[in-house]
């Protein structure tokens, strides 16, 4: 049998899984797995044609089960997501090799399980990305969900409860999709994409609404969209360092992939737009957009209140997902491009950020923002990585996050959606606030006595971080590179493509050329440096030689502002954090508790025969009447 390129990729990925599974206990295993990820990346790059102008590559693997055709293939969209998946897996696994691995084992972690779970995640994700019909999509979806569960549950303790919460959400989402699948099947008589598209055309509004809700909700759970976002932050944050980098980078984007495939490609934004919400001016698309916007704002401002670096980042991961969905549902050229480009950018800087935080934990043993500070003098490279990461996350030039957000803003502007635009910007501002808190409380301010002897993270962890930082900057300088891939992905889902240059976007209504912008920015820095350094030579002083209103500072006194950052802001908005969703979750939980209590009571009753007779009488009476 002739192997297609896709087969090679899947085989490679499967091989990685097997290697991790069988020889994953040795210390060299990490490196071996990492190399295999590299191999997967190569296998993917052999399909690079998909990234530049499309076509599809089918897998020779396909089944027929109970009259269901199952097939797998890759197109531009799959390639784009697969690139991010494998890339982040490669770097995370590289990061985990060597020093981190040893310390993880020293703390009683099971490294074999870790590598296996990572490999399993990548494998299942590739299967999901390759799905050629709705049934294989669902199969891939469930596999990804459970693989993610495995990775999240690794750490035990708090992580276990977080993962349990996740799996309940994920099952709910999966079942919603399952139901939707059944409905579609009855409508179209097949789960092949073409059949579904034709079936959607002559589907009644109500039914399409139901489908949009089922699928949107189901996929939304994984993306952490608004009402279903609670599980994500703790689940990602409590995963062992590199794992959280990987999950944060790509895992929840599978939801976006599925949304693109089903809602955008199969249903079509036009059909979705035609669904009006009764008694209101808004339609399904606006509904999605507003969900996206709330997903941007609320988690971002929740992140601002976190005091654990990993949780803070994880909450931002949820918030950034909103930008992607927002761009995709606005669905004009710039919006679509922005949404998809943001997937790539987010993956890069989120991974870098989680890695930097993990490096800090590796050296100091804590990620509590109130127990750190001043580490820049001890871990300068990690600081640089974190800095680049947060600039990307906050979406400021010169990093890549700016480009994608710029595109989203522009699309909202062109479409004339002021409120959405405003909300998106509010999200960005909130992000700036909370990432400054992050970098300040870890790296700036007063160095604690117990961290006097901390040193920079080892190279095995440093190199992947630096590579990521380089990617973040380069794709910020030359957004044209990823935009090529994004363009071909957009074509496959049938969205318009913006005309882009190497430096950015060409548009009659105002274009963007990052090469120039960054050029002048650095020129400006140069001039500033000239002015600055031409003045007198400066003298470094100890951090305790500091203004304290005439007070004599000493090392044992903490002279650092970290807790209740943004106190003034919280005076105003602090009362707005109601935890309503937590309350909702708890109430649902307790409702189930209550019901199940009742049911057990039902079964604990001794007079079973009484039930029997009553039922008998009841049904007979029912017949007679």
């Amino acid at each position: 049998m002739m192997l297609t390129l896709l087969d090679e990729l899947l085989l490679f990925s499967g091989a990685t899984l097997l290697v991790a599974l069988f020889i994953g206990r040795g210390l060299a295993a990490g490196w071996m797995v990492t190399i295999l990820y590299g191999g997967q990346l190569l296998a993917l790059l052999k399909m690079a044609v998909l990234g530049y102008g499309g076509g599809t590559i089918a897998s020779s693997l396909s089944f027929e089960i109970m009259g269901q055709e199952l097939s797998w293939r890759f197109d531009g969209l799959s390639w784009f997501f697969a690139l991010i998946t494998i890339g982040s897996a490669l770097l995370s696994s590289w990061f985990s090799c060597g020093a981190w691995e040893r310390s993880y084992i020293r703390q009683g972690g099971n490294i074999w399980l870790f590598h296996t779970a990572m490999a399993l995640n990548v494998f299942t994700m590739l299967i999901l990305l390759a799905s050629g019909d709705l049934l294989s999509l669902f199969i891939g979806w469930e596999l990804v969900s459970w693989a993610g569960f495995l990775l999240m549950v690794l750490a035990g303790g708090v992580a276990t409860s977080a993962a349990m919460r996740y799996i309940t959400y994920a099952m709910a989402g999966g079942m919603a999709i399952f139901g939707g699948l059944a409905l579609i099947y009855t409508a179209s008589g097949s789960l092949q994409l073409e059949a579904v598209t034709t079936a959607v055309e002559q589907m009644s509004g109500a039914k399409l609404w139901l489908l949009v809700i089922l699928f949107g909700g189901g996929f939304g759970v994984k993306m952490g969209l608004m009402p279903f976002h609670l599980w994500q932050a703790p689940a990602y944050a409590e995963t062992p360092g590199p794992g959280s980098a990987f999950l944060g980078a790509i895992s929840s984007r599978m939801g976006l992939f599925a949304i693109l495939l089903v809602l955008v490609k199969l249903f079509g934004i036009v059909n979705i737009e035609s669904l009006k919400l009764p008694f209101t001016p808004i339609d399904a698309r606006d509904l999605l957009a507003w969900i996206a916007v709330f997903t941007i704002i609320l988690p971002t401002f929740t992140a601002m209140k976190q005091n654990d670096a990993r949780h803070l980042l994880a909450w931002h991961g949820i918030g950034q997902g909103g930008y992607m969905l927002l761009g995709v549902v606005v669905a004009d050229a710039m919006g679509g491009a922005g949404g998809l480009l943001h997937v790539f950018n987010h993956a890069t800087y989120q991974a870098a950020l989680f890695m930097a935080v993990t490096a800090v934990i590796y050296r100091t043993g804590t990620s509590d923002l109130n127990k750190l500070g001043g580490l820049v003098v001890r871990m300068p490279l990690s600081f640089v990585v974190l800095l680049i990461g947060i600039i990307g996350l906050a979406g400021l030039p010169p990093m890549n996050g700016f480009v994608s957000k710029w595109l989203v803003y522009r699309s909202l502007l062109n479409q004339g959606m002021p409120l959405l635009f405003l909300a998106a910007v509010i999200g960005t501002l909130g992000t700036i606030l909370s990432v400054y808190k992050l970098i300040h409380n870890i790296f700036l301010g007063q160095l604690r006595v117990e961290h006097e002897h901390v040193s920079e993270a080892p190279w095995s962890m440093m190199i992947p971080m630096l590579i990521l930082s380089a990617i973040i900057f380069v794709t910020g300088l030359l957004p044209g590179i990823p935009l090529e891939w994004v363009a071909s992905a957009l074509q496959t889902v049938g969205l318009p493509v913006p005309d882009h240059t190497l430096g950015g976007i060409e548009s009659a209504s105002g274009s963007l050329d990052m090469i120039w912008v960054i050029g002048v920015l650095f020129a400006g820095f140069g001039v500033g440096a000239l002015v600055f350094y031409s003045a007198g030579r400066s003298k470094r002083v100890h951090q305790l030689d500091n203004y304290a209103g005439g007070h004599f500072l000493s090392a044992d006194v903490r002279y650092q502002y970290s807790d209740n950052f943004y106190a003034g802001l919280m005076h105003l908005i602090g009362g707005w954090y109601r935890g309503s969703f937590l309350w909702l979750e708890r109430s649902i939980r307790s409702l189930v508790e209550f019901l199940s209590l009742g049911m057990q009571g039902l079964y604990r009753r001794a007079n079973a025969e009484f039930y029997l007779l009553t039922t008998a009488l009841f049904v007979i009476a029912w017949v007679v009447i």
Binding site: S455, M462, N546
Partner: protein, 237 residues
């Protein structure tokens, strides 16, 4: 970080005429832009607001109040200086950026004034730090303050107000007096001696018995240099 080569701004014996013009400009600017840090201990503070506000308006002379010692050029001390206060005054003085000037206002700073017999006040301010200018009086009126400031400005322009260098040159003397008051384990976070080296103002008066005493007690406070080393000093927790 200052690996970049740059021109030291103020230096004696410059031959380059342009440089002399430049120095002149710099001195002029210094004299016309003075940021004051008021250290108002007991009394005398009351006379400064009028000097600043609409009646006399220091700002027309380019003088304005500042808040933290890092920003200020003039340390303006009014009223008696109790020993406790003096510690703070010295700390503040050492944290100020040179060229810096000290003005003692009111008789108390000159000779203890009405507290000349108190056990708890430092009588002569210039035993503990070089004072550029005393404005005597109990208390001096704003005119006097302005007058004094103008004198200081002229001296700065003339390049004579260099008493701050004296603190580095004769640190041992000042430190000695400070130790007399505060005991021999007295130290401030500022590493004056290394600064003296930094400004190449190290002279034979800088070091002496007292500085030796200081070095015995001093908890070292070198600046935290940025480290790139990957070898862990202590095993990671």
């Amino acid at each position: 970080m200052s690996s970049i080569k740059q021109i030291p701004v103020v230096e004696a014996k410059r031959t380059n005429p342009l440089a002399r013009v430049f120095d002149d400009l710099v001195r002029f600017c210094r004299s016309r832009s003075l940021f004051i840090l008021h250290y108002c201990t007991g009394c005398g503070a009351i006379e400064l607001p009028p000097a600043m506000t609409s009646r006399f308006d220091m700002e027309r002379l380019g003088i304005q109040p500042m808040v933290s010692p890092r920003q200020a050029d003039i340390l303006l001390i009014t009223g008696y200086v109790s020993i406790k206060t003096l510690k703070r005054v010295i700390l503040t003085y050492e944290q100020m950026g040179s060229p810096k000037y000290v003005i003692g206002i009111c008789s108390c700073t000159v000779n203890g004034g009405m507290y000349w017999q108190s056990y708890a006040t430092a009588k002569k301010l210039d035993e503990y730090m070089p004072v550029d200018l005393y404005i005597a009086g109990c208390m001096p009126r704003p005119e006097a303050v302005i007058e004094g400031l103008q004198q200081l400005m002229d001296r700065i322009h003339a390049g004579e107000a260099n008493s701050w260098e004296d603190y580095y040159r004769n640190y041992d003397y000042y430190l000695g007096n400070q130790q007399k008051l505060f005991g021999e384990d007295w130290q401030t976070p500022t590493d004056v001696i290394s600064e003296a080296k930094h400004y190449d103002l190290l002279s034979n008066g800088t070091l002496g018995d007292h500085t030796r005493l200081l070095e015995q007690h001093q908890k070292p406070l070198e600046a935290l240099e940025m480290r790139l080393g990957h070898e862990q000093k202590e095993p990671a927790k």
